[in-house]
Amino acid sequence: MSTNHNRPLSEVEIRVKALESLLVEKGLIDPAAVDALIDAYEHKIGPRNGAKVVARAWTDPDYKQRLLVDGTKAIAELGFSGVQGEDMVVIENTPQVHNVLVCTLCSCYPWPTLGLPPVWYKSAPYRSRVVSEPRGVLQEFGLELADSVQVRVWDSTAELRYMVLPERPAGTEGWTEDALAELVTRDAMIGVTKVVVPGK
């Protein structure tokens, strides 16, 4: 929260303040509700949720099966649901198939499990290029895929929201679910990177 009172407000700050103050004045919105939502999405709803789903799937084959068949229901088992995650599809990366997500039309993203999308995911360069040259985009994220690996791009243009179930890295046999969840990154659940064990 950086508020510099000596600096004149920018045009966009003025527009936001004007809009909110008018809506509050008319009794249409409660600023405390705005505060509560900001707090929830800034501090509680984020990729740690998705990481728990992934770690559960890695350690519980029955859960993984349920997750791949009905993502929404299996994710709700761990308590995650809501706006922009109403209808979830989870797709599995394997040694033969690498999946990567995009929304070319408007930046749709699975909020309950991954939180709000990063700027690059919403950006014109990512949305324009990942569908036509996914391997080049993945290389920019440091991910080189062998020619033998099939790349599947999922463009979430409709009401389904997607999440990638990354491959469990080698060398993690016997790890606890919590320790595995620590390894799982947002980018691996979008499909632009793999999950790796630090120092390996």
Partner: protein, 115 residues
């Protein structure tokens, strides 16, 4: 009139699915070959340009959803099936595509014809 913080958090956790609880016979089945129509509506549509006129295969039937093209324009929900359609990279990008790579796009029933 304004929602309270508690109501706002409850609404966030509940979500608002565009899925419609209405049984409708799907026009396509998994494995069917389809062609995406070449439509160019001036209003809202969720059919990206890069699949127009392209051929794909129905990979999954997601069920019945509100149709945004009409819903965004105040012309009703027009519920219909949405399918995951699989396209080859070559079909969409010609010689710039990659053999074996694929794209999956979620496509409303109204946007497609049988190929």
């Amino acid at each position: 009139m304004a929602i309270s913080p508690e109501q706002a958090l409850a609404a966030a956790a509940a979500g608002a699915s565009a899925r419609v609880a209405q049984a409708m016979t799907p026009r396509f089945n998994v494995g069917d070959h389809v062609m995406v129509s070449n439509i160019n509506p001036p209003g809202h549509t969720r059919m990206p340009r890069y699949i127009r006129g392209k051929r794909g295969v129905i990979a999954r039937d997601h069920g019945v959803f509100i149709f945004p093209d009409t819903y965004a324009a105040g012309r009703g929900e027009r519920p219909q099936h949405v399918y995951s359609v699989r396209f080859t990279s070559h079909e969409l990008w010609g010689t710039h595509g990659r053999a074996n790579d694929e794209l999956f796009v979620d496509v409303w029933d109204d946007y497609m014809e049988r190929a």
